[in-house]
Amino acid sequence: MIGALLVAALAAVALGGAMGIRRRGFEAGLLLQAAGAAGVGVAGFWALGSGTALGSGFSSSLDPRFGVDGLSGLFLGTLGLIAAPALVFSLRYLRPTRQGRAVAALTAAFLLALALVVSARDPLTFLTGWELMTLLSATVILVARSGDRRARQTVFHYLAVTHLGGVGTWIAVLLLAQADAVGNPAAIESGSGLQIAIALAALVGMGTKAGVMPVHVWLPRAHPLAPAPVSALMSGVMIKVALYGLVRVLVEWVGILPVWLGVLVLAVGAFSAVGGVVYALFQHDLKRLLALHSIENVGIIVLGLGACLVLRARGAEAWAAFALGAALLHTVNHAVFKALLFLGAGTFERAAGSLELDRLGGLLRRMPWTGGAFLVGAMAIAGLPPLNGFASEWLTLQALLHVTAYGAAGDGIAGAVALAALGSTAALALFCFVKVVGLVLLGEPRTPAVAAAEEAPLPMWAPLVFLAGACGALGLAPGLLFGPLVGLAPWSDGMPTSAGLELPGTGSLSGIWTAVVLGSVATGLLLLRGNRSAAAAPSWACGQQLVPALRWTSAGFTKPLRLVLESVLRPQRDVAVRSAGGVVQEVSYSGHVPHLIEERLYAPATRVSLGAAAHARRLQSGSLGTYVTYLAALVLVLLAAARLGWLG
């Protein structure tokens, strides 16, 4: 039944993609794709809830096999949950030009590739899907940005980084296949060199695709370039599929890893979480800021994963399963609110013509539906109760606390440091999204184009409202999803499902009651406050008039933190004063926070490899004589080797 639904839904996605190629079938094709995606979502969550495995199981042989189990179901469900609203959004966002139709058709192919990765049951199909999802997303960007030279360069960068890093994925999967360990953890000895090699290779390869620091450099460049629905799918689903791979390898297939590897994963997660959000805070472009937040949230998910690995190595099986559940719950949560925010950013770009934070403002009143949904998404990603981001961050905090509680000296301290890192990350994310909400939605519009912005058509705001509703629902009853997620750990028997989060040794978190208390008290206070107010007054600026030049900017708002972190971030600042005859004519100011990992780590590496390439190029002189000399030298060396008996 689930299998039939899934196959039919995937066929609908494919058919919808094909229909959309023709101008007449554009809208019907997108709607069919959306319906198919919704079907995939239902089938996925159904498979997760029922806990049954469909199709074949995992095998190390190279014959193509397909199947779906609970974990695949979760990711298929997330895929549908994000793709269906994103495709409905595309109805008005994409235009039925050649380009728009090509993007729509490629989106269908991209979705199928993502579904292929999570339903593959043999190494070859898995790797095929893995490469296809990179190539197709790159193609979508190229098609959508045809003629943009910088975009081409960025896509090349994206492909280069993910393929260099992606080697790790191939090594990990092929080593697993060789050891006959795909889906068979008994085949690998715990603590063996092979196990460590597979885990490290997977961490590098799949980590690159997931966007963990320091191998994240492609992400903040590539995600903002794509059209909004595709950005939503890339940030919401594609990097999650990379995490799916990581969960399969690290949690399911390689057996119990040594503690230090779990601590390494924790360190990577903490670094990504803090690093991602700090750089996001100093961004002034909304889409790039959102892309950097994806790194932060992947970091939070990886923290949960690391906690799971450490706790499992320490024998705390119940809490290891909870930690895995926390990581997976945050995966779904992040997919929902990040897709919402990316779609919202796309809408604002259409309406206001810019995504530069300092050139927006006042959009909440002009676009109440889009703006309201965006506000909910921002509060969810900032981890505010009673929305979904808080539930999974609370769970991750609890998991990290238990890393310390069950740990010895080293991993205990690592858990505590990760705990502090997650606490700061939550505060930094709040800081960042207060800035975003303030600059985009509140205050007065800052350009005439923004002042003239109007609400988007219904097919564009309705998906946003749906996703905002999902943020609320997942926050009110996180336990309904968390229960089955805990059961996904191979060593766990699952836990009874209830709406709230009731874990042993915690004071429990009830989303519904938090919402009831907050909602009823706030309503009561609002009613008591009444609507009486004095005449409208200008806001107080010490008697000055609030002119546009006095408006606060993104850089100004984050300045205190930039000053505090100056020694770490090394912000650059140039002030040029032009004066004539002792009178200042013009002051120009520019400042930015450089991306240190790119400048300190990647730039030297690029220089060295380009230099080496330049040296190597001298060998290829192009003159026939040189090549004949090479050939002759080779023949001579081979003859000498044969004579000396080196060739056996």
Binding site: L518, A534, A537, L561
Partner: protein, 308 residues
């Protein structure tokens, strides 16, 4: 429900909501005495709330619904936080549980509402205060999480009722962990209550305001909610300090009996600190809070060494 639990619930809800304004009033009163002035009566915050209650609110030009909603959201999240923090080792469930880490989320919600409202009125002084508050919050949250983690590790649970029960008596103090956690929490108390050396609650200069800055535009009942919320923050952190991070007796009756005395002492201690210490440069505060976080980490290390 036993009598003890019911009584603890009444103290928690009534104390947190109705008696909270007394705490900043006491601090101001004693601070004035320490400085040789007669000063306002400890009941002054109530008088101010009554005065504000009768005044009309202000609608700044260009402000949206966010500005109007913010004070109620702040009030609601502080009420929820009051219901989360128990005053003794037993407390009725108000539905939302008693988890220590939930407190962090509720305080964050209040902070978000205040900072968003200052963007809404687009007042530079409000935004300056909000941006400083958010900058400090990065370090406050890390320190708060770590100090709560120390208490949770010592007690073996993050349920605050359990934490109060397990840290009662003298047993928990044989290990230095809790004392180091208390040092960290002391800094959180100063930062969350907005007192010197982190912030100066008496300042009337917009440029130096942190917590007061974002409230500049508010008047009437809006301001009353926000001022009550500031007082409720005193209640939350001082109750936690008294019942977790200071030695306390191990029966519910004794805990409830001792609480008022300890709250009085802690208010006096805040007044003393305010009198002795000048306000720090705002950019130096993160260093102070980081020292607190380091103390809490040491506490965790000591707990790990003790439990191994």
């Amino acid at each position: 429900m036993s009598t003890e639990t019911a009584l603890a619930g009444v103290v928690q809800a009534v104390g947190g909501i109705a008696l909270a304004p007394l705490l900043p009033g006491l601090v101001q009163h004693w601070k004035a005495r320490l400085q040789g002035r007669r000063g306002p009566s400890p009941l002054q915050p109530y008088r101010e709330l009554r005065r504000l209650w009768g005044k009309s609110t202000v609608a700044p030009e260009g402000a949206s619904a966010v500005y109007r909603l913010a004070p109620s959201v702040v009030g609601a999240s502080l009420v929820a936080a009051v219901l989360v923090i128990p005053v003794a080792e037993t407390a009725p469930s108000f539905g939302i549980g008693h988890d220590a880490l939930v407190l962090i989320g509720l305080l964050a919600l209040a902070r978000f509402a205040v900072a968003a409202s200052s963007w809404d009125v687009a007042n530079g002084f409000s935004l300056m205060g909000a941006s400083r508050d958010l900058t400090l919050s990065v370090f406050v949250e890390a320190t708060l999480v770590l100090s709560l983690a120390v208490a949770a590790l010592v007690a073996g649970t993050t349920d605050l009722r359990g934490i109060i029960g397990m840290t009662a008596g003298t047993h928990a103090w044989t290990d230095p962990a809790l004392s180091l956690g208390a040092v960290a929490f002391a800094l959180v108390v100063v930062a969350e209550t907005g007192r010197q050396p982190v912030d100066n609650p008496d300042t009337h200069l917009e440029l130096t305001m942190i917590h007061e800055g974002p409230l500049l535009e508010y008047a009437g009942r809006d301001l009353a909610y926000l001022q009550w919320a500031a007082a409720a923050r005193h209640w939350l952190v001082l109750v936690l300090a008294a019942q977790v991070f200071l030695p306390h007796p191990s029966t519910v009756w004794a805990q409830l009996a001792v609480l008022p005395l300890v709250l009085l002492l802690l208010s006096a201690a805040l007044a003393l600190v305010e009198t002795l210490v000048a306000k720090m440069r705002v950019l130096l505060v993160p260093g102070l809070l980081a020292a607190g976080a380091a103390a809490a980490l040491l506490g965790i290390a000591s707990w790990l060494a003790g439990s191994a």
